[in-house]
Symmetry: C2
Subunit: 338 residues, 2 copies
Amino acid sequence: MLSERRLQVLRAIVQDYVGTEEPVGSKALTERHNLGVSPATVRNDMAALEDEGFIAQPHTSAGRIPTDKGYRLFVDKLAGVKPMSAPERRAIQNFLDGAVDLDDVVARTVRLLAQLTRQVAVVQYPSLTRSTVRHVELLSLAPARVMLVLITDTGRVEQRMVDCPAPFGEASLADLRARLNSRVAGRRFSDVPRLVEDLPEGFDAEDRGTVSTVLSTLLETLVEENEERLMIGGTANLTRFGHDFPLTIRPVLEALEEQVVLLKLLGEAGDSGMTVRIGHENAYEGLNSTSVVSVGYGSGGEAVAKLGVVGPTRMDYPGTMGAVRAVARYVGQILAES
Amino acid sequence: MLSERRLQVLRAIVQDYVGTEEPVGSKALTERHNLGVSPATVRNDMAALEDEGFIAQPHTSAGRIPTDKGYRLFVDKLAGVKPMSAPERRAIQNFLDGAVDLDDVVARTVRLLAQLTRQVAVVQYPSLTRSTVRHVELLSLAPARVMLVLITDTGRVEQRMVDCPAPFGEASLADLRARLNSRVAGRRFSDVPRLVEDLPEGFDAEDRGTVSTVLSTLLETLVEENEERLMIGGTANLTRFGHDFPLTIRPVLEALEEQVVLLKLLGEAGDSGMTVRIGHENAYEGLNSTSVVSVGYGSGGEAVAKLGVVGPTRMDYPGTMGAVRAVARYVGQILAES
DNA sequence: GGCTGGCACTCGGGCGGACAGAGTGCCAGG
DNA sequence: CCTGGCACTCTGTCCGCCCGAGTGCCAGCC
């Protein structure tokens, strides 16, 4: 087990390295933090920390930098979450309050997160399957053409065009709309398949085909993979990454373009509480030199989606975690109000 | 006026520089293109081209590289648009045909363009104001709460929540819906303000306030600035930019995040035909070392929005222009079908 | 008049050596 | 267990050097 002082040395190394972006040596450490011991002692501690794999030297006779394992210990044991200041919180709230619709909420959230953390922000749209149905609307656009519109309690709206096998009268449409809504309004989307299963049975034979088509389109819309959307921003912050750009930045940009990768990344994160994935803890190897801080957000107690930031492993964890948590909280509030 | 051969020399310089990314000298030029003259002659031509400002040397005793003015001449006079091959066109069509809704069309278009040109792709959503109204739907979500849904002929769907000043009955709602649609369905959105102007007059005093509120929300949605959306992709291609990354790439990423800047950029481009803005021709200075190739697309003869790519001034103009034109054409077709 | 080969000149990039600085590991002593 | 001292190592940088690519100019040739 590591002594208290060694943990302090690790903490100091992380803090200094995050600040200066340069390997930190024993002398500089004792000068900037009053540890009450000499550089020589710190050197011994460093040697021990290196043996345990918490820090490493880029080359002999250079200072030390934290390893992924070192950051992990730092995040778990040594650092708290830095709360936002009151003015910051007010600014967050004001900024988000101006949103006119869900797209706008998400767009503003991305901007805000990117700006606060100076990193790349990722915000997932509220998941359909975890939301509840506010309303299902059916619009007749042509005799055999129906538009299906789903509206969630979080304000998300999804639409699909349905080509019907047979013409579908206004009366039948109104009938279907009414029955459909009475069954699913207020229920969770994940329950919808079960709730509408036997719906076609109540219709005339001639309409039954169309009803089935409409319902199957509805169910398709709810299939996990397709229904997830997200928005990213702050990619310009990647340029602050390090001096060895091309190699680092490229795979990150590629990962950010692959929604599938990102969704998986957010999906892996725990459902409640904040998740921090550091460097190689990320399954996707393009992100091996980045850390991902993510958290669920939602209008009620339950998370309807996740948001987070992607940045270099060398990031200000307490500050980033504080910002992510605060933003998630306010977004949840906004959604609950709408 | 430049002689025919000098133009050929310029063309050769542009082609070689685009290929190799290195200043091109007189000897290399004569070896790779059979111009039928000696390096010395080419040197004289180069000196002339430099005097006219079409090419420049990074430093004395280096080869020449084209200037913005040189690229301009190349694009205007020396290079055609390279048509896509038949298999490429088939691939484009197949890829776009799989789209399920407008979001998907736009997303696929961005991906496709980025992949074909290996540059950053930008696609604007079909503009509301240039589209025609397919349907306006009003949904009562609560006694004094209405959701307004606009559907365009291009498949774009826009929704807004309206808080009514007074409760609004189902009957009144149906009435408003019917009158609204009979006036605006099939008309251009830009005509909508004029068409609905006197609509509140037909309603009872008690409903008139609500009707006005709904209509003003409708009009707000149509205000130019707010209604424009776009999607970008292929930012990872920026890493192929040059070796002097951080300085070049950063402002470009920043510009790409500023939708306002991008929209202006696309907006400035001519309405019909392809527009190429080279280097300093771009008003936004972060894009001074990039070129923007853009073109309008639309379901009919008229453009409903624009799409294009952003890349280094040192780009393959004929190929890029060919890809942009082809993609725009197919997107237009897809929209017309939906 | 325009093209060509020849020639002297310039400049950037790469290579190698020297040097300073930062940091380490180890050891003996308090 | 901490500390000061010491020898060692490695990096980054600066300098001088040379080579090669490319140029501009000029005299001669067609």
